[in-house]
């Protein structure tokens, strides 16, 4: 098999398949992560004290531990929780039921893991943006008779979300790249495919170089879309200079 044939019949089809799977993981993780991140960030910025404390703990755990550890924990570690629970529950007369609920499909575990990690980072950008809204804007809103919730929904949130876009966009770009860690929980996404082909054919250089180009392309597309979004929601005096 000559080099050209290797590229067209083996490497590129494999990488395309991996790319499709990567995108299938990235898109739901990005959307769910952003939504959870917005809720977490809002809770941390304006929520009641107990909620703030609780979310603080969540964020410090998920920002403070390596994503590889989190992912393997969800996929490999979590199902074995049975071993710890059964000795406790059985003597107390709990029915022994199957513990399949703790078993996640690799795909589910990946989306779950990425969402939780990504949301922890998003929340920090959202929180920062919410705290940056000037106090005068709330005072003005409240002086007009807005309730606290209305002030948040119609004044604070629209201003803060515009300010959070660059940071959250950054996190989504990170997510595109750290989605490659899914290969550790047996998902053959883009990097997984590349790994597989490289070790089968001993063509590491070409495989990884092409993989890098694939990622670069994904990030470029995301950057263009994020810039377009930023421009779309920018207003005179807010956001990028027009």
């Amino acid at each position: 098999m000559n080099t050209w044939e290797f590229y067209t019949t083996i490497l590129i089809p494999a990488l395309n398949k991996g790319l499709a799977l990567s995108i299938e993981i990235i898109i739901p993780s990005a959307i769910l992560g952003l939504m959870l991140g917005i809720l977490t960030g809002a809770g941390r910025a304006v929520g009641p004290k107990w909620l703030r404390k609780l979310l603080e703990i969540y964020v410090s755990i998920f920002r403070g531990t390596p994503l590889v550890v989190q992912l393997t924990m969800w996929y490999y570690g979590f199902p074995t929780i049975t071993r710890f629970l059964e000795p406790i529950l059985k003597p107390r007369g709990w029915p022994s039921f199957t513990w399949d609920i703790f078993m996640m499909q690799p795909f589910t575990a990946a989306v779950f893991g990425f969402t939780l990690c990504s949301a922890a980072y998003h929340s920090e950008y959202i929180r920062g943006a919410l705290l940056s809204v000037r106090r005068g804007q709330f005072l003005a809103a409240e002086s007009l008779g807005f309730t606290k919730l209305q002030t948040f929904l119609f004044i604070t949130a629209p201003i803060a979300l515009r300010r959070a876009v660059p940071g959250c966009g950054n996190e989504i770009i990170y997510l595109i790249k750290y989605s490659s860690l899914a290969l550790l929980i047996s998902i053959r996404e883009l990097t997984g495919q590349s790994n597989h082909i490289a070790s089968l054919y001993f063509r590491h250089m070409e495989c990884y170089l092409l993989t890098a180009i694939y990622y670069l392309a994904m990030v470029t597309v995301a950057t263009v879309l994020l810039n377009r979004l930023e421009r779309l929601i920018s207003l005179p005096g807010m956001g990028r200079a027009s």
């Binding site: 005072l139 003005a140 809103a141 002086s143 807005f146 629209p158």
Partner: protein, 267 residues
Amino acid sequence: MTNALSTPSPEIQKEEKALVPLLSVQGIYKSLGGKLILDDISFDLEKGQLKVLIGPSGSGKSTLLQCIHFLNPPDCGDVILDGKSAREMSRKNICSFRQEIGMIFQDFNLFDHLSAKDNVAIAPRKVKGLTKAQAYERALLELNRVGLSDKADHYPAQLSGGQKQRVSIARALAMDPKIMLLDEPTSALDPELIGEVLNVIADLAKGGMTMLMVTHQIGFARHLTNEIIFMEDGRVVEQGSPELLLDEYVNSRTALFCSRLTELTGR
């Protein structure tokens, strides 16, 4: 009130008897961070009256306005607007109490993400429940009143300081407030922009709007008001007509303070 010397007709007499102050501030105390900022402030504001509040910086003027508005509730004392006590209101009623008091801030506090028209229309829409069309109609009317109908689609960043302050006045007026509190409305403006804002305020005063205004524009204020309240260290030190407090021969704290202001600014 002014023609008290002439014998009032029975009708007027009856009206005067029924005259309850529109706003009554009763014994307000407020401390912030362990420091007493407002120390037993009381005064009344009658319908159509404009009172001017002056005093050195740090005397508690802005805090007082925020207390009256219950944006920053007083520790003690009450605010009674049109017979309704703010102290006894539930949180929900406080929001409707606030609707009836328009507030103008020194640094405008326009909503940065909304156009002039939307800045004015958002509260009627969200708080009063007007439809978008009704709210916009009202917004254009109010912007016209402050002479800015041509800037309706401009964003705050595209307006000058004077224009921003006029939009903020329009925004307050769109809620049909019974009274307006103005917290140094011209202090953040370039000198050449002060006039346009003062004109709007003078028009409001002539139109019978009840107002309490913190200002250092003494020259302007003394022509519009019949009562000046002078505050220092959280207390009302002097209170009376401009003639009483500001005339050259009067030896009042207010006159001293104002003459120092005039020396500094040449106004």
